[in-house]
């Protein structure tokens, strides 16, 4: 019996099962396999994140079902395509799934890495869940190929699937963080929480002084950074000619933008604290410097978007450079400048490292009476509460503080986005 004969008999056999609707059936099977492996990936992901194991038998059943659907796919597509190479991927995958279906349930319940001097034990469910995620994603991505008849379109679709999975993985932590903070924090929100002082190391009382402190720091930061940042942007964009000085300023702004916040904190500790003490003033100066590059860059962007002919129109009626800037260039650029500033100040409101050695106390600072008094602030409050978790019952207050801080910072972000969209001027 030669190969042709086997083929012929197989064809005959397949026409018995699938009849003329072979093509439609193929699509259905491919889509089924695609959905099925996606579901496996999702189950694997959730068993990984929620620490449960679906059990040996169900794992085996799922994997064998998946492998069978791949065998059906291979069986159907083997007559259609000319290049055998193209089904090798699926073939290898099928073999892997079969081997895994046999081996994975046989694993010991945990795998001691301590024998190799590594301080961990890998639990069985972790290996199995990770395998399910990988096989699910690869499988679903490969199931796209027969669906589009192994053309270049099919490569495209399977690549797209991987892209979609990666963006979902990126968004997942955001959802976890935000939903956890909202659901755990909302319970701690009360009138007392917002209006009372910190009592008994944060286990009781509220965050009133810290909230006021954070708002003061935000206002102060704006007062320091906005004039400096806007002035620098106006110079760079309107006055400066391309030269060494502009280049140096620009490099310094870049360095300042990248400088880690803890470095700012130590700088403030060495420079401002000896002069002003641990005080609001030291804090707002540091936060102002930290925010400066963000404001410079966004103001530059806003000024750059004003077309040259608007300036030339002003010069034509006899305006000096400053008059032109003041009357026709700045007004339309203001929404852009405000957007960047709000974003920068929002960023500053959440910073801990720059102020922890220069401006804040955990408790007892109260509402400052002069710029030379110390202050309390929400991010630092959250830091101290986080350190106390496990020793004192501060969870409730910590979650609520996190929620408050997150809403302030994200609120600033939202305001910035709204301003950007609402006042967008097109030239």
């Amino acid at each position: 019996m030669n190969l042709e004969k086997i083929k012929d008999s197989l064809k005959k056999y397949s026409s018995l099962i699938f009849d003329k609707e072979n093509l439609e059936i193929k699509k259905i099977i491919c889509i089924f396999t695609f959905i099925f492996s996606s579901i496996i990936a999702i189950i694997g992901f959730f068993s990984l994140t929620n620490s449960f194991y679906i059990g040996d038998t169900s794992l085996r059943v799922i994997l064998i079902l998946l492998a069978i659907s791949y065998i059906v796919i291979i069986y159907i597509s083997i007559f259609e395509i000319k290049k055998r190479k193209k089904i090798y991927g699926i073939l290898i995958l099928t073999i892997i799934i079969f081997v895994a279906a046999y081996l994975l349930p046989l694993l010991p319940p945990n795998y001691e890495l301590r024998d190799y001097e590594i301080d961990a034990t890998i639990m069985k469910f972790i290996i199995n869940s990770v395998f399910m995620v990988i096989i699910g994603v690869v499988g679903a991505s490969l199931a796209m190929k027969p669906l589009y008849n192994y053309t270049s379109k099919s490569d495209e679709m399977s690549a797209y699937y991987v892209l979609v999975v990666s963006i979902l993985l990126v968004i997942y932590p955001l959802i976890v963080i935000v939903s956890n903070i909202i659901s755990n924090g909302i319970g701690g929100f009360s009138w007392e929480f917002l209006t009372q002082d910190v009592r008994k190391l944060g286990t009781q009382g509220g965050i009133f002084p810290a909230l006021v402190g954070t708002l003061l720091l935000m206002i102060g930061t704006a007062l320091v950074a906005l004039p400096l940042g806007l002035g620098c942007a106006i110079y760079l964009q309107e006055y400066a000619k391309k030269g060494i000085l502009t280049r140096i300023i620009s490099i310094c702004v870049d360095i300042l933008q990248g400088t880690p916040s803890i470095v700012h904190g130590l700088f403030g500790f060495a420079f401002f604290v000896p002069i002003f003490g641990i005080s609001v003033l030291s804090g707002i100066l540091i936060l102002g410097f930290l925010t400066l590059p963000i404001i410079i860059r966004s103001s530059e962007e806003a000024l750059r978007s004003i077309p040259q002919n608007i300036r030339e129109g002003a010069y034509a009626v006899g305006a000096t450079k400053w008059q032109a800037i003041k009357t026709v260039v700045l007004p339309p650029a203001i929404p852009g400048i405000i957007t960047g500033s709000v974003l920068g100040i929002g960023r500053a409101a959440g910073e801990t490292a720059p102020i922890m050695f220069t401006a804040v106390y955990f408790f007892g600072a109260g509402i400052p009476e002069s710029p030379f008094d110390p202050i309390q602030a929400l991010p630092y409050h959250l830091l101290e509460l986080t350190k106390l978790i496990g020793y004192k019952s501060v969870e409730q207050n910590a979650w609520a503080t996190a929620l408050l801080l997150l809403s302030i910072v994200l609120g600033m972000n939202a305001i910035a986005i709204i301003i950007r969209e609402k006042f967008r001027v097109e030239f």
């Binding site: 994140t49 945990n110 001097e117 590594i118 301080d119 961990a120 639990m123 972790i126 379109k153 490569d155 495209e156 797209y160 979609v164 990666s166 963006i167 993985l169 990126v170 968004i171 932590p173 955001l174 976890v176 963080i177 956890n180 903070i181 004039p227 002035g231 620098c232 110079y235 006055y239 300023i249 310094c252 870049d254 300042l256 933008q257 990248g258 400088t259 880690p260 916040s261 803890i262 470095v263 700012h264 130590l266 060495a270 420079f271 590059p293 400053w322 959440g350 910073e351 801990t352 922890m356 050695f357 991010p379 959250l382 830091l383 986080t386 910590a398 801080l405 910072v409 600033m412 972000n413």
Partner: protein, 294 residues
């Protein structure tokens, strides 16, 4: 006193020049103050500053373990964040329909806007208690926890900068490829990504810089002992710290020479991150120049 139009203009211009120069002064000041505070440590400890021995009682302050910690935590974080970030950026720039993009872009920006202390808090109350039983770890505070948190934090910057780089590739590059019959994915793979590569590397370099300098989140999930785990790639062990976490944890109770050592750590951070930001910007400028004519 009335000033002539021209004198007034010159004065205003110079006022702006002085304001613009503040960034130069700030950089110089930061460098001067960090360095001058760090000098005593250099003088007394010399080469021992980079050893692995850290003992306050014996007066031994070697930054070796912290430098190693910074490298390994950043490295592992990048192994996770770089592929994920670039793939997501491709999705965002090339694949997402306009409406989806309008939703996703602000979401990525929000992810970047979450304060690092909130990431640290979440890491301490959710991630560490998750890792501890599942990996049978001693406490859950480890390089692994630090790397995971850093990866999440570095993702938004890598995504949004790579997205900008991919978007900056001129349309006619892609259209030429599509015109000769390439599919969209072939175009992305063969034309768009190679053209955007220096922009994407700028994004990665920036992400590394951000990860190295990240402080609060990392300090809350690391074991914070000045020790290199044995074997060094043991991500699960409850030892290890980074330069940033070292500063935050010890600054409060440090005295004279120890404070000075912490300033040396800050100098190292400042210089390394400055070099990274400058090179990232050089890469980005190169791509701008390249596409100017197109």
């Amino acid at each position: 006193m009335l000033l002539s139009r021209n004198t007034k203009e010159i004065i205003i211009k110079n006022i702006f020049l002085v304001i613009a120069a503040t960034s130069i002064f700030i950089i110089l000041f930061i460098f001067y103050f960090l360095f001058s505070q760090g000098i005593p440590a250099f003088e007394t400890l010399g080469g021992k500053l980079f050893s692995n021995e850290w003992s306050v009682a014996k007066g031994e302050f070697g930054l070796g373990a912290a430098i190693f910690g910074t490298l390994i935590v950043t490295g592992v974080a990048m192994l996770i964040a770089v592929p994920l970030g670039i793939l997501s950026a491709i999705f965002l720039a090339e694949l997402a329909p306009r409406k989806l993009r309008l939703i996703l872009k602000p979401i990525i920006e929000l992810l970047a806007g979450i304060p690092s202390i909130v990431y640290g808090f979440i890491g301490a109350v959710l991630l560490v208690p998750y890792l501890q039983p599942n990996f049978g770890m001693l406490s859950g505070y480890s390089y692994l926890a630090g790397s995971l948190i850093l990866a999440i934090m570095a993702l938004p910057i890598i995504i949004s900068m790579s997205d900008d780089a991919i978007k900056a590739v001129p349309r006619n590059f892609k259209e030429a490829s599509l015109a000769v019959g390439a599919t969209k994915w072939q175009t992305i793979k063969k034309i768009t990504l190679p053209s955007a590569i220096s922009g994407i590397s700028a994004a990665v370099v920036m992400g590394i810089g951000r990860a190295i300098g990240e402080t609060m989140a990392v300090s809350l999930v690391l074991g914070n002992m000045m020790e290199i785990p044995a074997p060094p790639f043991d991500l699960f062990e409850t030892t290890g710290t980074t330069l940033t976490a070292l500063i935050v944890n010890q600054m409060g109770e440090a005295t004279d020479i120890q404070t000075s050592v912490l300033f040396v750590a800050a100098v190292i951070l400042f210089i390394v991150v400055a070099i990274l930001s400058i090179s990232s910007n050089i890469l980005r400028e190169r791509i701008e120049k390249k596409f100017k004519g197109a």
